[in-house]
Symmetry: C2
Subunit: 210 residues, 2 copies
DNA sequence: CTCGAATCTTGACGCTGAGCAGTTTACAGC
DNA sequence: GCTGTAAACTGCTCAGCGTCAAGATTCGAG
């Protein structure tokens, strides 16, 4: 549980409470979902009093924010790991999409939390940075063939946003059961690849925006 | 407020409490969001005791479920209204997409609720029916040129699911601020149409599912 | 060693959802 | 018109929640 210290049970100062609380909070979040989350429960599982989290996270929103920060970091890491492997555009996009869906499936409550910005506030600079880092990594990885274009270039942006929107929408709808996709293994499920095939990522589009 | 009866303030039996509670609950939901929703508050605004809702909705999940049912019905009605007008495939899809985004923008808390199935249970047959009705209407409207195909036909399904996924994903990401799209007027904003243009809804796809 | 700052506990307040007993009303049968 | 039963609603109670204030304990710089 504790990362560095054994933290013998009866010490007044925990030593590594912030990390321990994040762990127990994640546990609670996964079990009970965003709606059923409770800060007291997280504190209880970390073996500290109910108001111990206050000093580290302020309030519940702060704790959830810290959890979301960690989630963005992990997603970004996984995305970046994939990105390096693939070479061909379609192949890379397919791999990234599968990774995205897999992340959502394996960290469902966390994935839920990430796109519910009303649950936490964005005063924490670390949160902002990690979120932007993840978004940039996704945008970079999901671009079409003109991936080398400077950041402001429109067509590539449209393309990556389209792919991301499609994958994100599919992820949610499939997990919610609105679409009959097989989320248990998005790699072998053929619905997402078939849909991506409909997206012409090679064309630059925007010739006539209307 | 009350739909049929004036319900003079001091009557023991409200007369139309179920509808009144749905109204006040919607009001609370819009103001406080899904997370800050409170059944007591809804009862308070309807002018009845805290436990009055129990008889009509059971518990909070039941109330939220009833709210979601109404939301599905409204979405379906709006979708069906659009569907009849457009004739050309792309034109119809564009109109439907704009309608979808507009609905989400104008009923944000409600839209949030609709895709959070963990918040309510699906024992209510009315809820199930309205949701299926809405999904079928969307699927019908968002199909490509082969819209006449029987329901089991795969390619049309893939096409409509792709469009829906893209629009749904865009809606969420744009509303969450992750994408710089203009949700204030999805009709004139050019991001969504540009993305839809990338989706080749005319081709039947699925030639090689891999 | 000392003293301030950081960390954690205890106790309290008002809020929430939920269950239970009781009160008031509507209504069908006579 | 009367009565009994079911429906609709109230009031009370309980446990759990987030948050705050005050106090106890420990750390660490000087």
């Amino acid at each position: 549980m504790a990362t560095t210290e054994p933290a013998s049970a009866d010490r007044y100062h925990h030593g590594n409470l912030r990390a321990a609380l994040l762990d127990s909070a994640l546990e609670v979040l996964c079990e009970k979902g965003v709606a059923g989350f409770s800060m007291r429960e997280a504190a209880r599982r970390a073996g500290v009093s109910q108001s111990a989290p206050k000093h580290h996270f302020g309030d519940t929103r702060g704790l959830l924010g810290a959890l979301a920060t960690r989630a963005y970091r992990r997603l970004c890491d996984q995305v970046e790991a994939v990105e390096l492997v693939g070479r061909d555009v379609r192949e890379r996009i397919a791999a990234l999409s599968a990774e995205y869906v897999a992340f959502a499936r394996d960290n469902r409550a966390l994935f839920d939390l990430m796109w519910r910005t009303s649950q936490f506030d964005f005063n924490d600079p670390d949160l902002i940075e990690q979120k932007h880092r993840a978004l940039r990594a996704l945008d970079r990885g999901l671009r079409g063939q003109d991936a080398q274009l400077p950041d402001g270039a429109n067509p590539a942006r449209v393309s990556s946003h389209a792919v991301w929107s499609l994958v994100h929408g599919y992820t949610i709808l499939a997990l919610e059961g609105a679409i009959d996709g097989d989320t248990s293994d998005p790699l072998t499920s053929d619905l997402l690849p078939a849909m991506l095939q409909l997206l012409d990522v090679s064309q630059t589009a925007c010739d006539e925006p209307r």
